[in-house]
Protein backbone atom coordinates (compact mmCIF):
# COMPACT_ATOMS: atom_id res chain seq x y z
CA UNK A 1 0.00 0.00 0.00
CA UNK A 2 1.35 3.40 -0.94
CA UNK A 3 0.35 6.97 -0.27
CA UNK A 4 0.14 9.02 -3.40
CA UNK A 5 -1.34 12.18 -4.82
CA UNK A 6 -1.80 10.58 -8.24
CA UNK A 7 -4.66 8.33 -7.28
CA UNK A 8 -7.30 10.41 -8.99
CA UNK A 9 -6.59 8.96 -12.40
CA UNK A 10 -8.73 6.56 -14.42
CA UNK A 11 -6.44 3.70 -13.42
CA UNK A 12 -7.66 3.90 -9.86
CA UNK A 13 -11.08 3.15 -8.43
CA UNK A 14 -12.23 4.95 -5.34
CA UNK A 15 -13.41 2.48 -2.70
CA UNK A 16 -14.10 4.44 0.50
CA UNK A 17 -12.27 6.49 3.10
CA UNK A 18 -9.32 4.47 4.36
CA UNK A 19 -10.22 5.09 8.00
CA UNK A 20 -13.66 3.51 7.52
CA UNK A 21 -11.94 0.11 7.69
CA UNK A 22 -10.78 -0.39 11.27
CA UNK A 23 -8.19 -2.77 12.63
CA UNK A 24 -9.04 -6.44 11.95
CA UNK A 25 -12.05 -5.49 9.85
CA UNK A 26 -12.89 -6.49 6.32
CA UNK A 27 -15.09 -4.95 3.70
CA UNK A 28 -16.17 -6.04 0.24
CA UNK A 29 -16.58 -3.85 -2.84
CA UNK A 30 -18.46 -4.23 -6.10
CA UNK A 31 -16.97 -1.44 -8.22
CA UNK A 32 -18.31 -2.81 -11.51
CA UNK A 33 -21.83 -3.31 -10.14
CA UNK A 34 -21.79 -7.05 -10.80
CA UNK A 35 -24.24 -7.69 -7.97
CA UNK A 36 -21.51 -9.41 -5.98
CA UNK A 37 -18.33 -8.06 -4.41
CA UNK A 38 -15.37 -8.63 -6.71
CA UNK A 39 -12.72 -7.55 -4.19
CA UNK A 40 -12.31 -7.00 -0.49
CA UNK A 41 -10.00 -5.07 1.80
CA UNK A 42 -8.75 -6.06 5.26
CA UNK A 43 -6.83 -3.97 7.76
CA UNK A 44 -4.40 -6.17 9.61
CA UNK A 45 -1.71 -4.91 11.98
CA UNK A 46 -2.40 -1.40 10.77
CA UNK A 47 -1.95 -2.10 7.06
CA UNK A 48 -4.66 -2.32 4.43
CA UNK A 49 -4.53 -5.30 2.07
CA UNK A 50 -6.70 -5.77 -1.01
CA UNK A 51 -7.68 -9.19 -2.38
CA UNK A 52 -9.85 -10.49 -5.19
CA UNK A 53 -12.99 -12.13 -3.86
CA UNK A 54 -12.06 -15.36 -5.61
CA UNK A 55 -10.94 -18.47 -3.76
CA UNK A 56 -8.12 -20.37 -5.47
CA UNK A 57 -9.81 -23.66 -4.50
CA UNK A 58 -12.77 -23.43 -6.88
CA UNK A 59 -12.06 -20.87 -9.58
CA UNK A 60 -13.58 -17.54 -8.68
CA UNK A 61 -15.67 -18.73 -5.73
CA UNK A 62 -16.90 -15.84 -3.52
CA UNK A 63 -15.53 -16.12 -0.01
CA UNK A 64 -17.60 -14.24 2.60
CA UNK A 65 -20.50 -15.90 4.41
CA UNK A 66 -22.28 -12.61 4.94
CA UNK A 67 -21.66 -9.22 3.37
CA UNK A 68 -18.19 -8.04 4.47
CA UNK A 69 -17.61 -11.16 6.62
CA UNK A 70 -14.28 -12.46 5.28
CA UNK A 71 -12.48 -13.12 8.58
CA UNK A 72 -12.65 -15.80 11.26
CA UNK A 73 -14.08 -14.95 14.69
CA UNK A 74 -10.59 -14.37 16.18
CA UNK A 75 -9.87 -12.07 13.23
CA UNK A 76 -6.53 -13.70 12.57
CA UNK A 77 -7.29 -15.29 9.17
CA UNK A 78 -9.20 -14.65 6.01
CA UNK A 79 -11.58 -17.58 5.56
CA UNK A 80 -13.27 -18.89 2.44
CA UNK A 81 -16.70 -19.82 3.75
CA UNK A 82 -17.30 -22.28 0.92
CA UNK A 83 -15.10 -25.09 2.30
CA UNK A 84 -13.24 -23.36 5.10
CA UNK A 85 -9.84 -22.54 3.52
CA UNK A 86 -7.85 -20.13 5.75
CA UNK A 87 -5.49 -17.45 4.43
CA UNK A 88 -3.00 -15.06 6.03
CA UNK A 89 -4.50 -11.54 5.87
CA UNK A 90 -1.18 -9.91 4.84
CA UNK A 91 0.26 -12.38 2.34
CA UNK A 92 -2.90 -14.11 1.06
CA UNK A 93 -1.20 -17.48 1.55
CA UNK A 94 -3.57 -20.38 2.25
CA UNK A 95 -2.36 -22.01 5.47
CA UNK A 96 -5.19 -24.46 6.10
CA UNK A 97 -7.82 -26.18 4.02
CA UNK A 98 -8.31 -27.51 0.53
CA UNK A 99 -5.99 -25.06 -1.27
CA UNK A 100 -3.14 -24.93 1.23
CA UNK A 101 -0.05 -23.35 -0.31
CA UNK A 102 -2.00 -21.36 -2.91
CA UNK A 103 -2.53 -17.61 -2.75
CA UNK A 104 -5.27 -15.06 -3.10
CA UNK A 105 -4.88 -12.59 -5.95
CA UNK A 106 -3.54 -9.30 -4.72
CA UNK A 107 -5.16 -5.94 -5.51
CA UNK A 108 -2.95 -2.88 -5.41
CA UNK A 109 -4.25 -0.17 -3.07
CA UNK A 110 -3.32 3.46 -2.51
CA UNK A 111 -4.48 6.06 -0.04
CA UNK A 112 -4.32 9.62 -1.29
CA UNK A 113 -3.36 12.70 0.71
CA UNK A 114 -7.00 13.20 1.70
CA UNK A 115 -7.25 9.72 3.18
CA UNK A 116 -9.32 8.26 0.34
CA UNK A 117 -8.69 4.59 -0.50
CA UNK A 118 -8.28 3.54 -4.13
CA UNK A 119 -7.81 0.18 -5.82
CA UNK A 120 -5.91 -0.31 -9.05
CA UNK A 121 -8.15 -1.27 -11.96
Amino acid sequence: MATTREARSPRWLRLCRADEIGEAQSRGFDPDDEGQDSLFVVRWQGQLHGWRNACPHVGGAPMAWRRDAYLNAERTRIVCHAHGAEFMPDTGLCVQGPCRGERLIDIELVVDADGELFAKK
Partner: protein, 317 residues
Protein backbone atom coordinates in the same frame (compact mmCIF):
# COMPACT_ATOMS: atom_id res chain seq x y z
CA UNK B 1 -32.32 -51.64 8.94
CA UNK B 2 -34.92 -48.95 9.27
CA UNK B 3 -32.75 -45.84 9.31
CA UNK B 4 -35.23 -43.10 8.39
CA UNK B 5 -32.75 -40.33 7.61
CA UNK B 6 -30.79 -37.55 9.24
CA UNK B 7 -31.97 -36.45 12.67
CA UNK B 8 -29.40 -33.74 13.44
CA UNK B 9 -25.99 -32.42 12.45
CA UNK B 10 -23.73 -31.13 15.22
CA UNK B 11 -21.15 -28.44 14.43
CA UNK B 12 -18.41 -26.79 16.47
CA UNK B 13 -18.16 -23.10 15.56
CA UNK B 14 -15.95 -20.14 16.46
CA UNK B 15 -18.84 -17.65 16.63
CA UNK B 16 -22.01 -19.08 18.18
CA UNK B 17 -23.95 -15.83 17.91
CA UNK B 18 -23.13 -15.32 14.23
CA UNK B 19 -23.92 -18.93 13.38
CA UNK B 20 -27.18 -18.73 15.34
CA UNK B 21 -28.29 -15.66 13.42
CA UNK B 22 -27.36 -17.35 10.15
CA UNK B 23 -29.52 -20.40 10.93
CA UNK B 24 -32.49 -18.31 12.05
CA UNK B 25 -32.23 -16.21 8.89
CA UNK B 26 -32.14 -19.46 6.90
CA UNK B 27 -35.54 -20.23 8.41
CA UNK B 28 -34.84 -22.63 11.28
CA UNK B 29 -36.46 -22.20 14.69
CA UNK B 30 -34.09 -21.59 17.61
CA UNK B 31 -34.57 -23.84 20.64
CA UNK B 32 -32.43 -23.49 23.78
CA UNK B 33 -29.95 -20.97 22.45
CA UNK B 34 -27.20 -19.60 24.70
CA UNK B 35 -23.84 -17.93 24.14
CA UNK B 36 -22.29 -21.38 24.06
CA UNK B 37 -24.67 -23.52 22.05
CA UNK B 38 -28.03 -23.82 20.36
CA UNK B 39 -30.43 -26.10 18.56
CA UNK B 40 -32.21 -24.98 15.38
CA UNK B 41 -35.18 -27.01 14.22
CA UNK B 42 -37.08 -27.56 11.03
CA UNK B 43 -40.84 -28.08 11.17
CA UNK B 44 -40.50 -31.82 11.87
CA UNK B 45 -37.96 -31.31 14.68
CA UNK B 46 -34.88 -32.40 12.74
CA UNK B 47 -32.12 -29.92 13.50
CA UNK B 48 -28.72 -28.36 13.30
CA UNK B 49 -27.00 -28.17 16.68
CA UNK B 50 -24.09 -25.81 17.28
CA UNK B 51 -21.64 -25.46 20.13
CA UNK B 52 -18.42 -23.57 20.68
CA UNK B 53 -15.62 -25.39 18.91
CA UNK B 54 -13.71 -25.81 22.22
CA UNK B 55 -16.74 -27.34 24.00
CA UNK B 56 -15.36 -30.53 25.62
CA UNK B 57 -18.70 -32.29 25.08
CA UNK B 58 -18.20 -32.22 21.31
CA UNK B 59 -16.73 -35.32 19.70
CA UNK B 60 -13.75 -34.70 17.39
CA UNK B 61 -14.27 -34.10 13.66
CA UNK B 62 -12.66 -36.44 11.12
CA UNK B 63 -9.85 -33.88 10.58
CA UNK B 64 -8.98 -30.72 12.53
CA UNK B 65 -10.37 -28.30 9.90
CA UNK B 66 -13.82 -29.96 9.74
CA UNK B 67 -16.51 -28.22 11.77
CA UNK B 68 -19.00 -31.09 11.55
CA UNK B 69 -18.55 -33.06 14.76
CA UNK B 70 -21.37 -35.57 14.57
CA UNK B 71 -24.06 -36.83 12.22
CA UNK B 72 -27.08 -38.23 14.02
CA UNK B 73 -29.42 -40.54 12.13
CA UNK B 74 -32.94 -41.45 13.21
CA UNK B 75 -34.16 -45.03 13.32
CA UNK B 76 -37.73 -46.33 13.36
CA UNK B 77 -37.52 -48.74 16.30
CA UNK B 78 -35.44 -50.22 19.13
CA UNK B 79 -34.82 -53.33 17.05
CA UNK B 80 -32.94 -51.27 14.47
CA UNK B 81 -30.95 -49.53 17.18
CA UNK B 82 -29.98 -52.93 18.62
CA UNK B 83 -29.14 -54.33 15.19
CA UNK B 84 -26.86 -51.38 14.38
CA UNK B 85 -25.11 -51.66 17.74
CA UNK B 86 -24.54 -55.38 17.27
CA UNK B 87 -23.31 -54.94 13.71
CA UNK B 88 -20.85 -52.15 14.52
CA UNK B 89 -19.57 -53.77 17.71
CA UNK B 90 -18.06 -56.49 15.53
CA UNK B 91 -15.13 -54.22 14.75
CA UNK B 92 -15.44 -50.91 16.62
CA UNK B 93 -16.51 -49.29 19.84
CA UNK B 94 -20.19 -48.40 20.17
CA UNK B 95 -21.12 -46.19 23.11
CA UNK B 96 -24.61 -46.01 24.57
CA UNK B 97 -25.24 -42.42 25.66
CA UNK B 98 -27.44 -41.34 28.60
CA UNK B 99 -30.19 -40.22 26.19
CA UNK B 100 -30.55 -43.79 24.90
CA UNK B 101 -28.83 -43.12 21.59
CA UNK B 102 -25.70 -44.91 20.39
CA UNK B 103 -22.51 -43.38 19.07
CA UNK B 104 -19.73 -44.76 16.94
CA UNK B 105 -17.58 -43.80 13.99
CA UNK B 106 -17.85 -44.52 10.28
CA UNK B 107 -15.00 -45.76 8.07
CA UNK B 108 -14.07 -42.19 7.05
CA UNK B 109 -13.66 -40.86 10.58
CA UNK B 110 -17.04 -39.13 10.89
CA UNK B 111 -18.63 -39.61 14.30
CA UNK B 112 -22.13 -41.03 13.81
CA UNK B 113 -25.03 -41.40 16.21
CA UNK B 114 -28.33 -43.27 16.03
CA UNK B 115 -31.45 -42.53 18.02
CA UNK B 116 -35.12 -43.44 17.92
CA UNK B 117 -36.43 -40.83 15.55
CA UNK B 118 -38.11 -37.88 17.24
CA UNK B 119 -39.44 -36.52 13.95
CA UNK B 120 -42.84 -34.96 14.49
CA UNK B 121 -45.39 -36.10 11.92
CA UNK B 122 -46.12 -33.20 9.59
CA UNK B 123 -49.25 -32.90 7.51
CA UNK B 124 -48.79 -29.86 5.37
CA UNK B 125 -49.47 -29.96 1.62
CA UNK B 126 -46.48 -29.41 -0.61
CA UNK B 127 -46.42 -26.98 -3.48
CA UNK B 128 -49.02 -27.74 -6.13
CA UNK B 129 -48.73 -26.63 -9.77
CA UNK B 130 -51.89 -25.89 -11.71
CA UNK B 131 -51.77 -27.53 -15.14
CA UNK B 132 -54.46 -27.89 -17.82
CA UNK B 133 -55.71 -31.46 -17.63
CA UNK B 134 -54.24 -31.90 -14.18
CA UNK B 135 -55.90 -33.83 -11.39
CA UNK B 136 -54.70 -31.89 -8.37
CA UNK B 137 -54.98 -28.10 -8.32
CA UNK B 138 -54.27 -25.37 -5.80
CA UNK B 139 -57.43 -24.25 -4.04
CA UNK B 140 -59.24 -21.61 -6.13
CA UNK B 141 -58.07 -18.09 -5.26
CA UNK B 142 -54.95 -19.32 -3.49
CA UNK B 143 -51.69 -17.89 -4.79
CA UNK B 144 -48.66 -19.72 -6.18
CA UNK B 145 -46.13 -17.07 -5.21
CA UNK B 146 -45.53 -16.83 -1.47
CA UNK B 147 -46.74 -13.34 -0.52
CA UNK B 148 -44.27 -10.83 0.94
CA UNK B 149 -43.91 -11.35 4.67
CA UNK B 150 -45.19 -14.93 4.60
CA UNK B 151 -43.36 -17.28 6.91
CA UNK B 152 -41.25 -19.88 5.12
CA UNK B 153 -39.68 -22.65 7.15
CA UNK B 154 -37.55 -25.62 6.22
CA UNK B 155 -39.54 -28.82 6.67
CA UNK B 156 -36.96 -31.49 7.32
CA UNK B 157 -33.22 -32.14 7.39
CA UNK B 158 -32.54 -33.54 3.95
CA UNK B 159 -28.97 -34.66 3.27
CA UNK B 160 -25.30 -34.26 4.02
CA UNK B 161 -22.41 -34.52 1.55
CA UNK B 162 -19.05 -35.79 2.73
CA UNK B 163 -15.64 -35.42 1.10
CA UNK B 164 -13.95 -38.74 1.83
CA UNK B 165 -10.40 -39.89 1.05
CA UNK B 166 -11.45 -43.46 0.12
CA UNK B 167 -14.87 -43.39 -1.46
CA UNK B 168 -15.12 -47.15 -2.09
CA UNK B 169 -14.43 -47.86 1.55
CA UNK B 170 -16.82 -45.12 2.69
CA UNK B 171 -19.61 -46.45 0.47
CA UNK B 172 -19.03 -50.05 1.55
CA UNK B 173 -19.54 -49.05 5.18
CA UNK B 174 -22.93 -47.45 4.57
CA UNK B 175 -24.11 -50.14 2.15
CA UNK B 176 -22.77 -53.31 3.74
CA UNK B 177 -22.91 -52.39 7.40
CA UNK B 178 -25.88 -50.03 7.62
CA UNK B 179 -28.09 -51.23 4.75
CA UNK B 180 -28.05 -48.08 2.59
CA UNK B 181 -28.51 -48.43 -1.18
CA UNK B 182 -26.96 -46.53 -4.00
CA UNK B 183 -29.69 -44.74 -5.99
CA UNK B 184 -27.41 -43.06 -8.57
CA UNK B 185 -23.72 -42.47 -9.02
CA UNK B 186 -21.33 -39.93 -10.46
CA UNK B 187 -18.55 -41.96 -12.06
CA UNK B 188 -15.24 -41.39 -10.35
CA UNK B 189 -16.88 -39.13 -7.77
CA UNK B 190 -19.20 -41.19 -5.65
CA UNK B 191 -22.65 -42.54 -4.81
CA UNK B 192 -25.95 -41.04 -3.73
CA UNK B 193 -27.11 -43.15 -0.80
CA UNK B 194 -30.55 -43.88 0.59
CA UNK B 195 -31.10 -45.59 3.96
CA UNK B 196 -33.52 -48.51 4.33
CA UNK B 197 -36.25 -46.49 6.04
CA UNK B 198 -36.48 -43.62 3.55
CA UNK B 199 -37.64 -43.16 -0.03
CA UNK B 200 -35.65 -39.95 -0.57
CA UNK B 201 -33.23 -40.08 -3.50
CA UNK B 202 -30.41 -39.44 -1.03
CA UNK B 203 -29.72 -38.59 2.57
CA UNK B 204 -25.97 -38.96 1.98
CA UNK B 205 -23.78 -38.22 -1.01
CA UNK B 206 -20.11 -39.20 -0.92
CA UNK B 207 -17.41 -37.41 -2.92
CA UNK B 208 -13.98 -38.97 -3.26
CA UNK B 209 -11.44 -36.20 -2.60
CA UNK B 210 -7.80 -35.79 -1.61
CA UNK B 211 -7.10 -36.08 2.14
CA UNK B 212 -6.68 -32.32 2.60
CA UNK B 213 -10.33 -31.84 1.60
CA UNK B 214 -11.69 -34.46 4.00
CA UNK B 215 -14.83 -32.98 5.53
CA UNK B 216 -18.19 -31.71 4.37
CA UNK B 217 -19.23 -30.15 1.06
CA UNK B 218 -22.76 -29.19 2.15
CA UNK B 219 -25.90 -30.04 4.04
CA UNK B 220 -29.47 -29.00 3.40
CA UNK B 221 -33.10 -28.98 4.45
CA UNK B 222 -36.16 -29.76 2.33
CA UNK B 223 -38.56 -26.88 1.72
CA UNK B 224 -42.24 -27.13 0.74
CA UNK B 225 -41.63 -26.58 -2.96
CA UNK B 226 -39.53 -24.66 -5.47
CA UNK B 227 -41.43 -21.37 -5.10
CA UNK B 228 -41.03 -21.41 -1.32
CA UNK B 229 -37.41 -22.42 -1.54
CA UNK B 230 -36.44 -19.82 -4.11
CA UNK B 231 -38.39 -17.08 -2.32
CA UNK B 232 -36.57 -18.04 0.86
CA UNK B 233 -33.26 -17.91 -0.99
CA UNK B 234 -33.91 -14.40 -2.29
CA UNK B 235 -34.81 -13.24 1.20
CA UNK B 236 -31.56 -14.80 2.43
CA UNK B 237 -29.53 -12.96 -0.21
CA UNK B 238 -31.27 -9.72 0.71
CA UNK B 239 -30.17 -10.23 4.30
CA UNK B 240 -26.58 -10.14 3.02
CA UNK B 241 -25.71 -13.83 2.69
CA UNK B 242 -23.51 -15.06 -0.10
CA UNK B 243 -24.98 -17.34 -2.76
CA UNK B 244 -22.62 -19.83 -4.38
CA UNK B 245 -24.63 -21.78 -6.98
CA UNK B 246 -28.29 -21.64 -7.92
CA UNK B 247 -31.17 -21.47 -7.90
CA UNK B 248 -31.42 -24.43 -10.22
CA UNK B 249 -32.59 -27.99 -10.48
CA UNK B 250 -30.39 -31.05 -10.19
CA UNK B 251 -30.68 -33.91 -12.63
CA UNK B 252 -29.91 -36.84 -10.33
CA UNK B 253 -32.55 -36.58 -7.61
CA UNK B 254 -34.41 -33.79 -9.46
CA UNK B 255 -34.18 -31.60 -6.37
CA UNK B 256 -34.26 -27.85 -6.75
CA UNK B 257 -31.12 -26.40 -5.19
CA UNK B 258 -29.56 -23.16 -4.05
CA UNK B 259 -26.16 -23.21 -2.35
CA UNK B 260 -24.77 -20.57 0.00
CA UNK B 261 -21.56 -20.01 1.90
CA UNK B 262 -21.82 -20.58 5.64
CA UNK B 263 -19.93 -20.18 8.91
CA UNK B 264 -19.70 -24.00 9.14
CA UNK B 265 -16.71 -24.47 6.85
CA UNK B 266 -18.98 -25.90 4.15
CA UNK B 267 -21.87 -24.87 1.97
CA UNK B 268 -25.45 -24.91 3.09
CA UNK B 269 -28.15 -25.69 0.56
CA UNK B 270 -31.90 -25.12 0.36
CA UNK B 271 -33.64 -27.90 -1.53
CA UNK B 272 -37.13 -28.90 -2.65
CA UNK B 273 -38.99 -31.60 -4.55
CA UNK B 274 -36.52 -34.47 -4.51
CA UNK B 275 -37.37 -37.72 -6.32
CA UNK B 276 -38.37 -40.74 -4.27
CA UNK B 277 -37.30 -44.26 -5.14
CA UNK B 278 -37.90 -47.75 -3.87
CA UNK B 279 -35.86 -50.93 -4.25
CA UNK B 280 -37.10 -51.45 -7.82
CA UNK B 281 -35.15 -48.37 -8.96
CA UNK B 282 -32.10 -49.07 -11.11
CA UNK B 283 -29.20 -46.74 -10.28
CA UNK B 284 -27.99 -44.49 -13.09
CA UNK B 285 -24.41 -43.48 -13.64
CA UNK B 286 -23.27 -40.12 -14.99
CA UNK B 287 -20.04 -38.18 -15.15
CA UNK B 288 -19.87 -35.34 -12.65
CA UNK B 289 -19.89 -31.98 -14.40
CA UNK B 290 -21.89 -28.81 -14.08
CA UNK B 291 -23.84 -29.88 -17.17
CA UNK B 292 -24.76 -33.18 -15.60
CA UNK B 293 -25.61 -31.58 -12.28
CA UNK B 294 -27.99 -28.82 -13.27
CA UNK B 295 -31.05 -29.32 -15.42
CA UNK B 296 -31.29 -25.55 -15.45
CA UNK B 297 -30.01 -22.56 -13.56
CA UNK B 298 -32.14 -19.50 -12.99
CA UNK B 299 -30.97 -15.94 -12.95
CA UNK B 300 -32.87 -13.05 -11.44
CA UNK B 301 -33.35 -10.02 -13.68
CA UNK B 302 -33.50 -6.76 -11.87
CA UNK B 303 -35.44 -5.15 -14.72
CA UNK B 304 -37.43 -6.97 -17.34
CA UNK B 305 -39.00 -4.27 -19.45
CA UNK B 306 -37.53 -1.18 -21.09
CA UNK B 307 -38.00 1.95 -19.10
CA UNK B 308 -36.30 4.57 -17.03
CA UNK B 309 -32.96 3.43 -15.64
CA UNK B 310 -32.21 0.88 -18.37
CA UNK B 311 -28.66 1.33 -19.64
CA UNK B 312 -28.25 2.59 -23.22
CA UNK B 313 -26.97 -0.76 -24.42
CA UNK B 314 -29.81 -2.63 -22.77
CA UNK B 315 -29.96 -4.95 -19.83
CA UNK B 316 -28.54 -7.85 -21.85
CA UNK B 317 -25.13 -6.22 -22.24
Amino acid sequence: MKIVGLESLIFGVDDVRGAARFLVDYGLTPVDVSDRSGRFEAIDGTAVVIARQDDPALPPGPVPGCRLRKTVMGVADEATLGAIAAELRRDREVRRLPDGSIESIDDSGFVIGFQLTARRPVVLPGEISNAPGGVVFRPINSLGVPPPGSVIRPRSLSHVVYFVPDVAKAEAFYVNRLGFRCTDRFTGTGPFLQPGGSLDHHTHFLIGAPPHMHGVEHFTFHFGGPSEMITNGYRFVEKGYQAFWGPGRHILGSNWFWYFNSPFGCHIEMDADMDQHDASWQPREATASADNSQAFLLKMRRKWYPGPGIPENGDYA
